[in-house]
């Protein structure tokens, strides 16, 4: 049974004006097979949490821990965390000129497994996963994210998640910018991955729309670098109806 435990996480970032604290004590536990939604106003630190878990060098852990199955992740290089089973579907996926999607996927799979995947099975897996996500086969030959539309980039992130089979995935606003059909396609992909591999998910979103397709077990409200409230799926609906005012006045941000 896999578990991702975040405890008392404090994170800062270096800016031109000096160091600023963004995360101010985050506690969160995700068990395998669970779906956790994180909602919260712009700038509350959701992406910071996602990047910090993945190990982005810009974010400094000041205090606290991130444990995957009891192993400390803070301090590990980015690629080692990925190999330990963490995956981040990014809010803004990066273009990599001259690197074809197929080459990228194969290189990643090889790095994660420690050996190259058997060619025939792998080619078939890639083709099928692309088909399920309604991605044209021509994407395989295109350069990573280069010239992809916003929605295409997001599908490409989910494609990677399905093929790379992490233990835990963080989806940072994967639903933003998707039309209704694409949203459903992406949600199907997430549910497929969960059924197949039983991964745990942290779904960062501003909208309950996606949560109708990806049913969360828990909802966390993120405000000013901390979890301000937690609850079941009903909390998401309440947030949609009421907004974050209640929390913002309580913590007097502004």
């Amino acid at each position: 049974m896999s578990v991702l435990e975040i405890h008392d996480l404090h994170v800062s970032v270096e800016t031109e004006q000096g160091k600023i604290d963004i995360l101010k004590g985050v506690d969160l536990t995700v068990n395998e097979g669970e779906i956790h939604a994180i909602m919260g106003p712009n700038g509350s630190g959701k992406s910071t949490l996602a990047y910090t878990i993945a190990g982005h060098p810009k974010y400094h852990v000041e205090r606290g821990s991130i444990k995957l199955d009891g192993n400390e992740m803070t301090g590990l290089p980015v690629d080692e965390r990925a190999r330990a089973g963490l995956f981040l579907a990014m809010q803004y996926p990066v273009e990599i000129p001259g690197v074809a999607v197929t080459n990228f996927l194969r290189t990643a799979k090889t790095a994660l497994d420690g050996e190259a995947p058997a060619l025939r099975g792998w080619t078939k897996d890639v083709r099928e996963a692309m088909k399920n996500l309604r991605m044209d086969p021509s994407f395989a030959q295109r350069n990573v994210n280069e010239g992809f539309s916003g929605g295409e980039k997001k599908r490409h992130e989910i494609l990677q998640m399905e093929l790379l089979k992490p233990k835990f995935a963080i989806l940072d606003e994967t639903d933003s910018g998707l039309d209704v059909d694409a949203l459903k396609i992406v949600a199907d992909g997430v549910n497929r991955a969960k059924t197949e591999t039983g991964l745990g998910l942290l779904v960062i979103t501003h909208y309950t729309r996606i949560l109708r397709y990806i049913q969360p077990d828990f909802v966390h409200v993120f405000v000013d670098g901390r979890v301000a409230e937690e609850g079941g799926p009903e909390l998401a609906d309440r947030l949609e109806a009421e907004g974050y005012d209640r929390f913002l006045t309580e913590t007097s941000v502004g």
Binding site: V78, I96, P97, G98, V99, A108, A111, L112
Partner: protein, 408 residues
């Protein structure tokens, strides 16, 4: 539309020098701005001669030498050069003839005249020229391997001619020892379509100074690709004269300089007829202390070149501290009637976000760097038009990425 009455020169101050500053981690200097403003001499007025002694002694301050490591080049600039025939390996191709021709042959000098002293020295010294002639409208492929020069200072002269409406693909592959000054003339006759690829994978102590002169005829097309990877000093200066209406050139360059290597290219495109087109794309990667690259891109659009379309760009990727990339685009426009003229030049350090993205998928930092650099240069390497050579060069680029002293 009002045409400017006098020659218009843009971007005299565009010289970019990029160097990673170890005292400011994470900052990517893009340009030193206009601090090195040098008025550009009109390229058409530059001195030319085929005779060494017509050129004054080189001081190293000349516009064409000021970036080059002159001390290492003295033997080629002013020394005596062996001008005898050299050995090459090739496989005979029916539509391509290869022959040694006399200095007095009519084809000698048909594409250009030296504009620097080393080029003139090579011209003065060569005994016979190697003439490669392509005929026939089926595409003719030829690869010429030059791997057995002995490393003593020498001159060479090569003339590549694509006859009217012929189509050819010529690869000049250089390896082994060399101290070589040479001229390569490229004549693309009316309606012909020619690709010339020059690959430098010399020994680590090799010195190679080359001038390529091309003359592109009516509705003819030249694709010129330079890939420079190994050698101590490599300086390849292609100048292309678009002399008839509809002439079209694409110039590509890929280079990778590691510690102590100097790789330079001075590109000149001379638009001298209406409706001519040029595209120049050079990309370089640099790694290690003392790696130095120079790209100068001169484009001249003469009064006679109405309706010209031109674009040139140079991009450099600095992979470590202590490397330096000079990048200088120059655009001279003498006519008001152009279809397009532009340039771009950018030198920057490795993009950490790309690295993060790849590493977040489990790929090690070293492998991620390899992918990114290979991808960066792929745009050029894919233009070579020979899958086998392309694969060979891709592995060579990966090899260059392995840091010195690391087990390979």
């Amino acid at each position: 539309m009002s045409a400017p009455a006098s020659p218009l020169t843009t971007d005299e101050g565009a010289h970019q020098q990029a160097q990673l500053d170890p005292t400011q981690p994470g900052r990517a200097p893009r340009s030193d701005g206009g601090s090195s403003y040098v008025p550009v001499q009109t390229r058409s007025e530059r001195f030319k001669s085929t005779t060494t002694s017509d050129f004054p002694a080189v001081t190293g301050r000349e516009i064409e030498w000021k970036f080059s490591p002159i001390a290492k080049l003295r033997p080629l600039i002013e020394g005596e050069l062996d001008g005898g025939a050299w050995h090459y390996d090739t496989v005979a191709t029916p539509g391509v003839s290869i022959a040694w021709v006399d200095r007095a042959d009519a084809s000698v000098g048909s594409a250009g005249v030296p504009e620097d002293r080393a080029s003139a020295n090579a011209w003065t010294s060569f005994e016979r020229a190697l003439a490669i002639t392509i005929d026939g409208d089926e595409i003719q492929d030829l690869a010429l391997e030059r791997s057995r020069l002995d490393g003593a200072p020498r001159a060479a002269h090569t003339i590549i001619t694509a006859k009217k409406h012929s189509r050819g693909h010529i690869v000049l592959h250089n390896s082994g020892a060399a101290q070589l000054a040479e001229n390569v003339e490229i004549v693309v006759e009316d309606g012909a379509d020619l690709t010339v690829v020059s690959v430098q994978q010399w020994n680590d102590d090799a010195i190679h100074l080359a001038s390529h002169f091309a003359r592109v005829g009516r509705d003819a097309k030249l694709r010129h690709v330079v890939v420079s990877l190994d050698g101590d000093v490599i300086r390849i200066n292609p100048s292309v004269h678009l002399v008839s209406e509809g002439a079209d050139v694409e110039l590509y360059g890929a280079y990778f300089a590691t510690s102590g290597q100097h790789i330079e290219q001075q590109v000149f495109v001379d638009h001298n007829a209406p409706k001519t087109k040029s595209r120049v794309t050079y990309k370089g990667a640099l790694q290690g202390r003392g790696a130095h690259t120079v790209w100068i891109g001169d484009v001249l659009i003469r009064q006679s070149a109405a309706g010209t379309d031109s674009y040139e760009q140079n991009r450099n990727l600095l992979l470590s501290d202590g490397a330096r990339a000079d990048s200088i685009p120059n655009l001279e426009i003498e006519t008001g009637d152009i279809a397009g003229a532009g340039h771009a030049s950018a030198s920057g350090r490795f993009d950490d976000e790309q690295l993060f993205y790849l590493q977040a998928r489990g790929i090690s930092e070293e492998e991620a760097r390899r992918l990114v650099v290979r991808g960066f240069l792929a745009e050029i390497v894919q233009r070579i038009g020979s899958p086998e050579l392309q694969t060979r060069l891709e592995s060579a680029i990966e090899l260059a990425l392995v840091p010195e002293g690391a087990p390979s």
